[in-house]
Symmetry: C2
Amino acid sequence: MPKPPQLSSHLNNLKPSVFATLAAQFKLLPALPIPLHLGDTYRLPTPEAQWPAVLQKLPGNPYQYASPLGMEELRAAVVAKLAKRGLTGLTTNHVLPCSGGTGALSLLAHTWFKAGDEVLILAPFWPIIRGIVDSVGAVPVEVPFYERLRAGESIPAILDGYVTERTAALYVCSPNNPCGTVLSPDETLQLATWTQQRDLWVIADEAYHDFVYGGNRHSFLAALPGMAERTATVLTASKSYALAGTRVGYLIGDPAWLDPARLMSTHITYQLPIVCQIAALAALEHGESWLDETRELYRRAAERVAQRLQAKFAPAQGGAYVFVDLRGPLQGRRCVDYVSELLREGVCVAPGEAFGKDFEGWARVCYTAVPPEQLEVGIDRLNRSLERLAAGRPL
Amino acid sequence: MPKPPQLSSHLNNLKPSVFATLAAQFKLLPALPIPLHLGDTYRLPTPEAQWPAVLQKLPGNPYQYASPLGMEELRAAVVAKLAKRGLTGLTTNHVLPCSGGTGALSLLAHTWFKAGDEVLILAPFWPIIRGIVDSVGAVPVEVPFYERLRAGESIPAILDGYVTERTAALYVCSPNNPCGTVLSPDETLQLATWTQQRDLWVIADEAYHDFVYGGNRHSFLAALPGMAERTATVLTASKSYALAGTRVGYLIGDPAWLDPARLMSTHITYQLPIVCQIAALAALEHGESWLDETRELYRRAAERVAQRLQAKFAPAQGGAYVFVDLRGPLQGRRCVDYVSELLREGVCVAPGEAFGKDFEGWARVCYTAVPPEQLEVGIDRLNRSLERLAAGRPL
């Protein structure tokens, strides 16, 4: 045997995702359940960003190497869009295309953190962020946040207790995956002020910034006074333009750290496929009316969930999800065990423990993964199952 | 200012690539030089792997997420090809598609190494490997190898002096980038035996295994007795099938460590674009005669270089490069300074220091980056410049 079955210690805390576990269960089912567990969309991208149109725009030889910096035009289009959305003062040197939001956040962790650095993660959170922090040997510190915020606690009161000498950064996702909360401009400002007082880096996962509903408004953390130099903004064509399969996201921020991140990126992926960058560029250039239409469709889906789902949750203010508190009906059972029953009823949700250790009795429901008519059926099946649970008659 | 302008210490030793520096110089030139510095190809991929054909094979919605494991058919095609080439006993669980060879090697480093682990890198070497080792906090140890091997020294005699208690692995690239050496079956066996005696992991960068010329023969390190469990084989569609811009490479080896690598990969890039995986699959399925034709073209190009380039170098046995010893003509100057002169003569080569600290007076010449007629002009220009140098008349 070779000396090392010792692998990197950074692997110690990485766990297979709950989605991988679910996918294994799916194989045993007679039919696929309605997939309300996934964070994806049924929408096709705007036609200009679909492959047949993209092919018309390829450079002379699109099979050769290209710049590890990413296409200049693509970065310029990101800058232009963000300027229109209120995040101004950026140049193309502030933007690095990465392998989706995951690639951007992973690269950031590799650039910013040393082993032992603590990262505050506002919970519930997007599942992969915890593993990303672990994967560089830093320490994820889960901070139950959104429930306490909704209960009226002040941001310093929620966060102060979690800061230590080793705290390096705070991760916040707004519009939130999984709970659909959009931080108000005032809350965003309070959070910004607190991170400045504590002198922390900020990871602003604003992947869902294009999807905010009703009277809610998203404001970019990096746009607030004093925040540009300490904030990394992460966006992605996966969410904004229904291009998850093309793997184009953006890491955005001060070249003082983004230049080193570029160098790190060259040693991790080298570059993104040109064909994918062109798809993302087309979406940025031609996707505005598609985005309006999609936002309206998602808003209506969120509304249907708010009206019809017979469970305890805060209606979505933005994003693609609601986070359902099933602790009552589950009576101490973990959601992950309940999901096996749900699968046999033909619907799937994401078990809450993926979104934080305090959420074993919760579930994430995505309302953008399937078209409206399927969503209705999915809600029917969920309601039926929850009624049975309430009546003490599990499947 | 935020507390941390301290970034990850893993960035400390990363340097911008010499190619990035050259690209900046190119912008100041009246015309682009003949690019013999790049590691790319003028060949278009086999038609089945070009985008118009790939589009015909896309799944229902090719814009959604797909499995982080990579396509099962793609992994099966890699297994099938390798079995034909003498690397048997693999299953699809032994293969993980990554973002090119760079992505595969980076992922491997993130999986295998702890900070402080030493990695022997046989020099001269592919430039990015040094930074990849640095980027995880491990220590690259350059071992001048190929010259000493050609001079008749035994493999243990070359390597023994570099091993310490912290040595974890050995990186070898054959056919070699940059020097074109193909380790003979006997040398490969000696190297394998030595790594077993020393109980090391082996990184077998066999990116150019499809391009071996004349009477030379490549043998896979992982195929030798006792090597499967300690060897990571890295291959790439970039080199084998002229698909650098699609970013598909393969990390291949024992699931005992490849399973953890998959988990790491999910947290670094999540998945590869489906469209790129389909291109790589088409190349594997339909690329055999294209490969024969391309190998013959590269062989002829290597032969022309061997016949015509008026400099000191070992003729290529495989791969895409020769590594030219310019220490005589440069008389103590660094090649990187000479390249600025060469650029004005309309040709570019890669300065040797990128390939190891002992090679400042060397240059890598790629004979696959431009078509045959341009290669001849490039050689003419190089020869003219070298004649001037020899005559003491720099440009």
